[in-house]
Amino acid sequence: MSTDFLEFRGVSKRFGAVQAVDGVSLGIKKGEFYSLLGPSGCGKTTMLRLAAGFETPDAGRVFLDGRDITELPPDKRKVNTIFQSYALFPHMTVRANIGFGPAIAKRPKKEIRDEVDRMLELIRMTGEAAKKPDQLSGGQRQRVAVARALINKPDVLLLDEPLAALDLKLRQKMLIELDLIHDQIGITFLYVTHDQAEAMSLSDRIAVMDGGRIEQVGTPAEIYEAPRTSFVAAFIGDTNFLEGRVEACPDREYCRLAIAGMPPVLCFNDKSLQPGQPISLSIRPEKVHISHERPEEKPQRNILPAVVEDVIYLGSTTKFWVRADGYRIQVLRQHARYFLDEKPLRWKEDCWIWWHADDGFMLDRFRRSDEGLLAVPPQRVGD
């Protein structure tokens, strides 16, 4: 644990009746791009404010580079924040905004001017130095906020939903720019967002939060491919949940599950479960295959007959909602040549779905309410 650069040790914070952060321990390595991901009110922004020094925890400690910074005021910490609203000083020019930190630190005037010039070049806004924040576009304001924070050479840069106020195209552009900046200067980023796509595309590691607690920590691929709880599975991407009980374990690797109303389902037994134990599965929609024809039987292949209930054409992919033995299952398929060699599946047609036993992932914890996070098409009348 000594390699952690920014570390939260058992921190808790309560606001009135709300337990915003509940005994969270996290370690962030030097130079890492680390994201806190979760729905609004999950405590991720409070974590960031604890790191910045705007809040002090009710319990637990915060360490930076081995030093206890729990009681240190924000101006004494070598961390800088990029606020969701950017929080540029409205009465100052772009140049004065960026130079604020060095000016407070009483650095020589010439040095500040050169530093600001370098920053302006980095964010490609040399021509806008004399403008006031209200004369800038959203993307420009964001870049000024980045420059204003980076000029202080912080140990950790804290980013509080920095892209939330931008429109989609600009968000994608800024995403790439943030990634470039992180690669260039190599400082530690702590990034707070509710947008899973942002977190996935930027982060080295992600901590998924819910209700003031950490649900899971891992690389984007680990979080997506091997979600530990139903919350993580449903919040990041889409998924299908199946609940059942272990029926038999034919060998050490796989077990057969009994799921009410379904033929036995084979599943990779990475939890060393014994027959009789209850278990919930998460199967990602893109792991499920769909076809008119019955696929070839294979030892580790689960095959079910189904009826197409909804088809949503999404351009690069198509989403199917099928009903198999009373379960609604979501399937996502990518097209090869849509018009030429695919005979499209249509509404109400019979079909076959199948998935490999390795693609059903066993969850440690299942919570019924997490199904509410999944996008489900409206139920048809009489359904």
Partner: protein, 257 residues
Amino acid sequence: MRRSRFPVVVTALVMAFFYLPIFILVANSFNPARFSSRWQGFSLVWYRRLFESPEIWAALKNTLLIAVSVTAVSVVLGTAAAYALHRYGQSRLQRVHYTLIYQPLVVPEILMGISLLMAFVAAGVPLGLFTVFLAHVTFCVSFVAMTVLGRLQDFDFSIVEAARDLGASPWQSARKVLIPALMPGIVAGALLAFTLSIDDFVITFFVAGPGSTTLPLRIYSMIKYGAPPMINALSTLLLAVTFTAVVASQRLARAKR
């Protein structure tokens, strides 16, 4: 379809009701006639007489002395009060504070005048410039606080946090970020306090002592002992000053909203 003339007529009548007396006063200040209000040609004679009157100059000196000091003190107190009210507005203490600050805006002036007079007498403070100054501060603070509070309502406090984050101490972040950002509200409040102090009559009437006669009091006594048209000239000048100040304060309050 023809538009109705009714709104135009009503507007004209209302304007006449409000501004005709003022217009007559301004016009008469340029009228050399001593007793009648018949127009006898344009003249600046009353303005010249005004500038030659030592009582007027003494009263003006008192008025400005009080107005400037009252503005300075109530801007500091009022801004601090508004900040406290905004930041800690949920606490019971601040709700009491808000009610207290709000009182001078609704309590009849005559009541404030009498109660202040009784307080000064009870405390044994001799009536004079100092009591007028204290009395003016009591109500000017409220006006400044309310103006600044309005500005704070849509103020993004994350810029103060940003300043702290970038290494500023609490004092530095107040001086370099909070106060400059609130400046339009503070200046608007200051101009309001200044004009209110300059033309306050009722409260000043109760708490003024010998040697602390302000301009409004002087005007009142001039009317009582015959109505020399000098008052018209003086009123016109006062009108010009207060009007300018009010317009400026409104402009600033609106700026950058």
